[in-house]
C-alpha cells in the first residue's frame, strides 16, 4: 500500500478490560472504500472512533499521510468528516441553520444557496424552515448527511450511515458514496445493510473473532 493516505499499524483496542482486537493493519488510498464488518460488540464503532482520533488506541497508531494523527491532530480533522450514531443535529435549529453552524465550526464560509441546494437534493425541500425537533429520525439523518457533503472532506468515516433511511435515501446514499469515491475521496463505513456499489473498489475488514455471513 504505497499510496495509502490512511493507514493503521499494529492497532489494538480495548473496551474496559476486554481486548477487542489487536495487531490490526490496513491501508486505504484515494478512491477506496473500507467496509468494516462484524457482529454486535465486536468493536466496529470503537475502531471508527480510533480512526477519528476521538479514542486513544491501546497499542499501535493511526497515520494520515504517513504521520500519526496524534501529531497532525487538527490538520487531519480538516480533511476528515465523521458521522456517528448521533446525528449532531441541534433540535432547536432548522436544517439551514444547522448547516450554517456546522460550517462555522469548521472555519468554512457559509454558502446559503449551496446549502439549500444540498438539502433539496436530499429531499428536504419542504422542511427547510422547520426546527429539526419536528423532523423524523430519517430526515434528521439526511440533515447530517447534508453537513457531510458540504464539509468537502477527503475521508468520510460513517458509522451505520443507512440507519433510519428509507429505500430512496439508501439508493441516494449509494450514489453519494460512489460519486465521492470516483472524485478521489475515501470512505470507511460500517453497515448492517446491503449496499449496492458496483464498480467500486471495496475492501472488507472483519472486526472481532466471530465470522458472520457475507452481507452483500
Amino acid at each position: 500500500m504505497p499510496d495509502a493516505l490512511l493507514s493503521v499499524h499494529d492497532l489494538a483496542c480495548a473496551r474496559g478490560e476486554r481486548l477487542l482486537f489487536k495487531g490490526m493493519n490496513f491501508g486505504l488510498g484515494k478512491g477506496e472504500l473500507l467496509l468494516v464488518q462484524g457482529g454486535n460488540g465486536q468493536g466496529k464503532t470503537s475502531l471508527l472512533r480510533l480512526l477519528t482520533g476521538l479514542a486513544r488506541p491501546e497499542e499501535g497508531e493511526v497515520r494520515w499521510r504517513g504521520e500519526s494523527i496524534r501529531r497532525v491532530g487538527e490538520a487531519y480533522h480538516g480533511e476528515m468528516c465523521y458521522l456517528g450514531h448521533a446525528n449532531g443535529v441541534k433540535d432547536d435549529l432548522n436544517p439551514v441553520e444547522n448547516l450554517r453552524f456546522a460550517d462555522g465550526m469548521h472555519g468554512r464560509a457559509f454558502d446559503q444557496t449551496r446549502a439549500v441546494a444540498t438539502l433539496e437534493r436530499l429531499g428536504l425541500s419542504r422542511c427547510l424552515d422547520l426546527p429539526c425537533r419536528v423532523l423524523s429520525f430519517g430526515q434528521r439523518r439526511r440533515v447530517a448527511l447534508a453537513a457531510l457533503l458540504l464539509a468537502g472532506a477527503t475521508l468520510w468515516i460513517l458509522d451505520e450511515p443507512l440507519t433510519g433511511l428509507d429505500v430512496h435515501a439508501v439508493v441516494l446514499m449509494e450514489g453519494l458514496i460512489r460519486n465521492h469515491l470516483t472524485a478521489g475521496g475515501m470512505v470507511v463505513a460500517t453497515t448492517h445493510q446491503a449496499l449496492n456499489l458496483d464498480g467500486v473498489a471495496v475492501q472488507r475488514l472483519l472486526v472481532g473473532n466471530v465470522a458472520i455471513p457475507a452481507l452483500m
Binding site: G16, E17, R56
Partner: protein
C-alpha cells in the same frame, strides 16, 4: 535490571510484595518509638500543660494529608504525560489514606482547640484549608467511584487532582487573608514559645512512622488494583492459582 523493569505492573507486584513487610514493621517500630517520645520523654508544656501532646498526632497527620495530595498530583501528572498505567494506580492507592490523615488532622485539631481556645472549631486558616482539602479528597474519590471505565477514571481523577493542587495554595492564602481580616490577629497554632528539641524530634519520628504506614498501605492497595486490572494476563492467573 533497571528502573523501567519495575514500571511494569507484573514486576512491581512482586517488588511491592517484598517491600510491604519492611514498611509495616518499620511503621510499627517507629510509631512505638514516637509514642514513647510523645508521652515519656517530652516534658510538660508550661503553657498548654499536657494537652499539647496532641500535636504529636496532629502535626504529622496534617503534613501527611498535604504531602499525600502532592504525591497523588505528581503521579497523576506522570501518568498523563507518559501514559504509564502504574502511576495512575499509585494515585488511586494513595487517596483513601490521604483522606484518613486529613480527617485525623481535623479531628485532633478540634480536640486540641477545645482546651486551648475554648472552642471545638475555629475558622482558622489551617483548619479551614484542611477541611477544604478533605472536600477535595472526597471529590476525587467520588469521581473515581462514578466512572466505570478504568482509563477514563484514571485520567479524569488525575486532572481533578492537578487543578486541585494548583488551587490548594490559593485556597490556603485566601483563607488566611480572610481570617486575618475577620479576627484581627490570627491564632497561630505553631507559636509554641519554647519548642523543645525533643518535641520536634517526637513529631519527626511520628511523621516518618506515618510515612512508612502510608507506603505500606498504598503498596497493599496497589497490589490489589494491579491484580484486578491484570487478571486477564498469564502471570496474574498464575498468582491467583498459587495463592
Amino acid at each position: 535490571m533497571n528502573l523501567y523493569t519495575y514500571a511494569s505492573p507484573a514486576n512491581f507486584y512482586v517488588l511491592a510484595g517484598k517491600l510491604i513487610p519492611w514498611f509495616s514493621w518499620g511503621a510499627g517500630l517507629l510509631a512505638v518509638w514516637g509514642l514513647y517520645i510523645s508521652f515519656f520523654l517530652a516534658p510538660t508544656d508550661f503553657q498548654q500543660s499536657e494537652a499539647y501532646r496532641i500535636i504529636f498526632i496532629h502535626v504529622p497527620a496534617a503534613w501527611m494529608s498535604m504531602f499525600i495530595y502532592l504525591v497523588m498530583a505528581f503521579w497523576g501528572a506522570i501518568g498523563l504525560a507518559f501514559n504509564t498505567r502504574l502511576s495512575f494506580m499509585m494515585a488511586r492507592a494513595l487517596a483513601p489514606t490521604g483522606a484518613l490523615f486529613t480527617f485525623i488532622a481535623l479531628w485532633t485539631g478540634a480536640l486540641w482547640g477545645k482546651p486551648m481556645w475554648g472552642a471545638w472549631w475555629v475558622w482558622d486558616a489551617r483548619l479551614t484549608s484542611e477541611l477544604i482539602l478533605l472536600f477535595l479528597y472526597v471529590g476525587i474519590i467520588a469521581l473515581w467511584a462514578a466512572i466505570d471505565d478504568v482509563r477514563r477514571g484514571d485520567r479524569a481523577g488525575s486532572l481533578l487532582t492537578l487543578i486541585g493542587a494548583i488551587n490548594v495554595p490559593i485556597i490556603y492564602f485566601s483563607v488566611k487573608w480572610w481570617n486575618t481580616l475577620h479576627q484581627g490577629s490570627s491564632i497561630n497554632l505553631m507559636k509554641a514559645p519554647s519548642m523543645a528539641a525533643i518535641m520536634l524530634q517526637g513529631m519527626l519520628v511520628m511523621a516518618i512512622a506515618a510515612w512508612f504506614y502510608t507506603i505500606a498501605v498504598a503498596l497493599v492497595r496497589v497490589r490489589r488494583i494491579i491484580l484486578e486490572r491484570e487478571r486477564q494476563t498469564d502471570w496474574a492467573k498464575a498468582i491467583l492459582e498459587n495463592e
